[in-house]
Symmetry: C2
Subunit: 247 residues, 2 copies
DNA sequence: GACTGACCTTGATACAGATCAAAAAAAGGA
DNA sequence: TCCTTTTTTTGATCTGTATCAAGGTCAGTC
């Protein structure tokens, strides 16, 4: 993938479709196009960004905070199908109806682009389309990895898998420190975790307690988690590799 | 999506990345490029097309038959993460190592394109990249829909969901006949179904028997299935809509 | 036509996780 | 600060699916 990043974005961490901070910092030509079609929206924890079926006139990128994509059955059974962390993209060019409900699971800042002009930009700048394809393929891989978690892992392995993912993303963005203890804030309620993992919140709570008892993790309060040994956690997750930790 | 199909492929059912028969029939300019980089490979039921981790020098499109993408844990637990039906595409531009094991679940014919030239073609013909993005987004939606199946549906609902998908795809390609009984051949063993659904083959067998007993389906032999009333099956699948049946 | 092996079905039992219920711990709000 | 509400933990019990174990069916082959 590295070799496919277009020259325009080579040194730009704030590419419109993968920025980590604020897009305005980026000085590529394309951003001139985007400048007047973008705007920011913030949401507080628990607020809905949009509902499945809503008209969706924009695509967006997460600047900070965490959002979830969920699907709900008629009888209320809910499954989270994606977790949007900073730099993740939401919205589908060519479709103006939202397929999933998007909810802020923590305070959230999104950078939105009006859909039509964004689509035009994609059509006129092939390398952005290219970047978007890569990101979509990455998401597809993530979704498929999650299918293994949902279909074949035990409750304990599921929890460990989720904690690994969050720890990994947190470490990648912040003070990465391989081999040392890792502390991070869980951006999800027990219920949201359950919805992601296909479990009940009681089972999530029990397994969290079990991981704590077995000293795989330490809990400060209910949300602050310390992982003394990342390898142990990955072992509990049943991963056959380090899953690209810190990559 | 419809409006995004490029002019070159407007009337071409055999677009290289979405053909239904044989690509050679297509007379677009791009296909001249593809003509000398493509070749066909056939596999018999049960044969492996490639293993996860293999070097992968081509991308491919299913011409006929069915293949599966699977992921396996160290201890042997297996999860199917995708079902490749005719016109489906496999392979990722920009990555030459296969992430999943690809297996022919029935006799299979694939149309392969050498990877490097294919990537070049993508770079030089934006509308193919565009088409590929659309297809990837469709796959992502399918993967996410399957996450709901894996995470929240009961065994019976899972079986009904799988049968619906196969019936739908079969109907779309063949003699569609809404409102009438639908008969098709199951291209999967009970074990493959189990791997797709995150169940054991015994549970699959029991639920198939139950659906037969309840007259949701009829079995002729072990693989030939008749669905007298598609709506009933969709009801069993717990789908809140017709899921795009015949679309 | 009976032998073989792969695939499928059915039965008995075990167990992981769901469900129902209540208490404990935080988080707000007056 | 106390009171209310929400979130989390823990306990008791139930249930759907896994597991273990036979037996049945069918296609291919000698």
């Amino acid at each position: 993938m590295q070799q496919m990043v277009s020259p325009a974005f080579k040194n730009c961490e704030e590419c419109p479709i993968r920025h980590r901070a604020v897009c305005a910092k980026c000085d590529s030509d394309e951003l001139a196009l985007l400048e007047d079609i973008k705007y920011y929206r913030s949401f507080s924890a628990g607020q809905h960004v949009m509902w499945a079926g809503d008209q969706m006139d924009f695509v967006a990128s997460v600047v900070s905070g965490v959002a979830s994509l969920t699907q709900t059955m008629e009888d209320g059974r809910t499954q989270m199908v994606g977790l949007l962390l900073p730099s993740d993209f939401v919205g589908r060019p060519g479709r103006n109806i939202a397929t999933y409900t998007v909810t802020a699971t923590s305070d959230l800042l999104m950078c939105c682009f009006r859909r039509k002009p964004f689509e035009q930009m994609i059509d006129s700048t092939p390398h952005v389309a290219h970047r978007l394809l890569e990101m979509t393929l990455d998401e597809l891989d993530a979704a498929r990895e999650w299918m293994l978690v949902l279909g074949r892992k035990t409750a304990r392995e599921k929890i460990a898998s989720l904690l690994s993912i969050i720890a990994r993303r947190d470490a990648a963005l912040g003070t990465a420190n391989p081999g040392k203890a890792l502390t991070f804030e869980l951006p999800l309620t027990r219920e949201a975790m359950a919805d992601y993992l296909g479990l009940t919140l009681e089972t999530v709570s029990r397994q969290m307690s079990a991981l704590k008892r077995d000293q795989i993790i330490t809990l400060s309060g209910k949300r602050r988690i310390t992982v003394p040994d990342m390898d142990k956690l990955l072992l509990e997750a049943g991963d056959d590799s380090d899953g690209g930790f810190l990559i």
